[in-house]
Assembly symmetry: C2
Homo-oligomer: 330 residues x 2
């Protein structure tokens, strides 16, 4: 591989000059810049990112922290979209992305984690699916050693940004739409997700707000994002419920299936907008989230932080849609 030195020789300039044109610094005349660029092209030179990192202390390396605690396909599909959205965007910013899983770090203590990340020269982290229980993450954030972006978890300060959709508003809207479409709903049964997930509270606030505004009766239970738990909850509460509002599509599916088995009808709405397989003919309202776009936005935020700007909270658009589950994929 050609090095910066070769380029300098070829162009008949100093190494430092080459470095300047490489990094787009000012103070290089048009002509020399051209000479250098030509030499670069001729030698097919690509700068060595490792050397640049060592020298500049800027590595441009960021880690994606995925929470894979659940093994359902659904969660995986979302994570996949997160991944590809982030990687795509990182490429634009010439950031270098490595993927880590919560499970790999959770068992270590915080200083071990810090050491690991430092030794890997990781400057920034994007955290997906954090919950209140993840104390180690809170400590990581408080250490102030890394720029961090949390997805769907409300943090922001000097070096932390967060990216999310307005969970409360989204939950409010999708439930309201469904209720308006179905006359006579008086008693809402709300199946929330995991108790300590950050998204859960926002969504609960949304449904509470709606219930209050419309003067409806509201019962809340936790379904842990599990189809079977939602199913059981629906089975137990169907008689005293007019509408089921679920914090995920998967749970909504569970509810729809048991209702259909019981041969009763109740309106149901979900959350996520993920394409699910194998649920032919059913349709329902849900909140469509573009996970790849959310992830791309997270990378943008991280890039901002790395450039020295301070953290902020960024809310992305969501969309309430009616989806019909198809039995055919591809």
């Amino acid at each position: 591989m050609a090095s910066i030195k070769d380029v300098a020789n070829r162009a008949g300039v100093a190494i430092s000059t080459v470095s300047k044109v490489l990094n787009g610094y000012p103070g290089v005349s048009r002509e020399t810049k051209d000479k250098v660029n030509q030499a670069i092209a001729e030698l097919k030179f690509t700068p060595n990112a490792v050397a640049a990192a060592l020298s500049s202390k800027r590595t441009g390396r960021v880690a994606l922290l995925l929470n894979l605690s659940d093994k359902t396909q659904i969660v995986d599909a979302i994570n996949m979209q997160y991944l590809s959205g982030a990687i795509q965007k990182a490429l634009e910013f010439k950031l270098d992305v490595i993927t880590l899983f919560f499970s790999m770090l959770r068992e270590k203590n915080v200083s071990e984690i810090i050491n690991y990340l430092k030794s890997q020269s990781i400057e920034g982290l994007i955290v997906y699916g954090m919950s209140r229980e993840d104390q180690w993450l809170t400590e990581l954030m408080e250490s102030g050693l890394f720029k961090m972006v949390t997805v769907d978890a409300p943090f922001s300060d000097e070096h932390i940004s967060s990216v999310w959709i307005d969970q409360q508003k989204a939950q409010y809207e999708v439930a309201k739409k469904t209720i308006l479409e179905n006359k006579g709903c008086k008693r809402i049964f709300y199946i929330a997700g995991k108790k300590n997930a950050f998204i859960t509270q926002g969504r609960i606030d949304g449904i509470k707000q709606l219930a209050q505004e419309m003067g409806l009766e509201l019962t809340i239970a936790y379904g842990e994002f599990s189809e079977s738990q939602a199913r059981e909850l629906a089975f137990a509460h169907e008689k005293k419920t007019d509408i089921f509002v679920c914090a995920s599509d998967l749970m909504a599916i569970g509810v729809m299936r048991i209702l259909s088995e019981l041969d009763v009808f109740r309106p149901v709405c979900g959350f996520d907008g993920i394409t699910l397989m194998g649920y032919a003919g059913k349709q329902m309202n849900t909140v469509r989230q573009d996970f790849a776009a959310i992830s791309a936005a997270a990378v943008e935020e991280l890039q901002r932080l790395l450039e020295g700007e301070r953290g902020r909270s960024r809310v992305l658009a969501h969309e309430v849609v009616q989806i019909r589950y198809q039995d055919v994929i591809g």
Copy 2:
């Protein structure tokens, strides 16, 4: 952050000595080793991987190349298992993993790809789901610039290893088992996957071998791993077929569904052993593959290559199992 110099000072030895104990090189006395280790502990020193990489020319950075051409959940679930298996194993070897997608590279020309990988100091690649059409990958392999491991694609030379299960044998076995369980199968309809995928030919060889051995009539069609295409093929050929053998679970599902809609019975077998949702009550034979384990094996192979050993082909075990698709996840 403490540097190797600080450690050397603290321990009262030379930098090179510290480096030696760090890398487990021989030729350091027990006592000095202890002194050094103590200093390391006291200073909470973690070596700077970037500096080590620059100096040693060994970066320990490898890339996972995932082929996401299909957007089905199924493929994603498999890829997720590949990912986590590889990342887990890479951690053991202190390899540093980055994830790339075919789609990001396919549009570039080969020398651009090489430049990109080189600039990222990537030494090795693991390629998942390669097909015969991926000429750019072949060129990458021929360049000899990277150590590579192909998963489910038959390559091996000085710097290339491959890891796979015996597709032919697996296809043979699962089909045979199904046929033996169902008396009177004379006419096999085989639904293969994608025409140019490397796994496809091996599986076809397997079913051909079986047909010949058992003196059965065999028809082969390509279903492109698509549920709907398999469905249509089954619809068109059901009357002149005694058993449907499919090159993926997803296609097998498609076949089972149309058969059930037509209200006819034919034995069906699949391939992959992936848990699918939403197909209650059905059961069938399939080939269980542990994708995480396959991926871990690929990382092991890559590690071997990086250590200077020559490439080889490694065949992993598979298992023919009967699975029942469940309607409940979690």
